[in-house]
């Protein structure tokens, strides 16, 4: 019964979808803000990667919100799973091979994450991806060593300081008499590491923050007792 209703509902939704998207042109150029961004990004922001420029500069407010969403998810997960940590139980340890390799790979993965967020304005990637990679690298250690612990104190500090950096960078723009999150640094030459004004600063802050947050999420979930 439930299935029948669901299928009926989906059939209606699907019908509308198909009707709308059959007329949607695929692969054609569009007028609109996208075109403006493509033509003016390098001039206005100095970033080679237009997507990064949009994410951090033109629509930087979104990114601030996005960081907040992740922050809230980490906080909320902490609140939901509060008081459920600990209790000993027997677990299968990882084999020597996995342990040794994790040790070797852990710094490399973290370095890769750092590379991704430092080069956010030049190559694909940026703060979120870099942070996710760092968190995954820490997870590698969690998986190999049950006793591996991250310091919650340090996580909190990184998280807060990175978040404050982001907000402060925004407020500096406001304090200088322009608008929130406005660039106040020289743009530099495109495709240099030190270019694009505040974009790298924001992405580094985001990278640290997301890395710390996702590590916190994974830690919270892993250390929860069943």
């Amino acid at each position: 019964m439930r299935k029948a209703i669901a299928i009926l509902l989906l059939a209606i939704v699907g019908y509308y979808f198909i009707n709308v998207f059959i007329h949607m042109p695929f692969g054609e150029k569009r007028e609109g803000v996208g075109k403006y961004y493509l033509e003016n990004t390098v001039k206005e922001t100095g970033a080679a990667n237009v997507v990064t420029a949009i994410v951090v500069s033109y629509r930087g407010f979104d990114t601030l919100g996005e960081v907040t969403v992740l922050f809230l998810a980490a906080t909320g997960l902490g609140a939901i799973l509060f008081g459920k940590r600990g209790e000993k139980r027997r677990l299968q340890g990882a084999s020597v091979i996995v342990k040794t390799t994790s040790m070797m790979l852990y710094p490399m993965v973290v370095l890769l994450g750092a590379y991704v967020f430092v080069h956010g304005h030049l190559t694909p990637g940026g703060g979120f991806q870099g942070g996710a990679i760092i968190a995954t690298g820490v997870l590698l250690m969690f998986m190999s060593y049950r006793h591996f612990n991250v310091s919650h104190n340090a996580l909190t500090w990184i998280e807060s300081l990175a978040g404050l950096t982001f907000a402060t960078v925004g407020l500096i723009g406001l304090a200088l008499g322009t608008t929130f999150l406005q660039n106040f640094l020289p743009l530099g030459t495109p495709n240099d590491l030190v270019s694009a004004g505040i974009i790298p600063i924001i992405y580094i802050a985001v990278g640290f923050k997301v890395g710390a947050e996702l590590t916190g999420v994974l830690d919270n979930m892993l250390k929860t007792i069943r």
Binding site: V98, P124, G137
Partner: protein, 82 residues
């Protein structure tokens, strides 16, 4: 040239997907996933060559690293670790 190679890769993917759908044990399917990710890494590098953009290689690099960790997690789950 590259497209023909990619089609071969696609064919290989079908074998792997078949194993992933059929594979009697969970391990079989995880092996299939592992192989899909490895093949995909190769495919991404080849596509980067096809589009002739150096920056696309980054994606393959990160992809390789992360898929490895994903598969390792699954393996550790099977082992009873985690």
């Amino acid at each position: 040239m590259i497209l023909y190679i990619l089609i071969v890769l696609g064919l290989a993917t079908f074998f792997v997907v078949h194993r992933g759908l059929k594979g009697p044990t969970p391990s079989d399917r995880i092996v299939a996933l592992d192989n899909i990710t490895t093949i995909t890494t190769a495919g991404l590098v080849l596509l980067g060559l096809y589009f002739d953009r150096y920056i696309y290689i980054d994606v393959a690099l990160i992809y390789g690293v992360l898929s490895f960790i994903g598969v390792l997690t699954l393996a550790r789950y099977l082992e009873g670790g985690l």
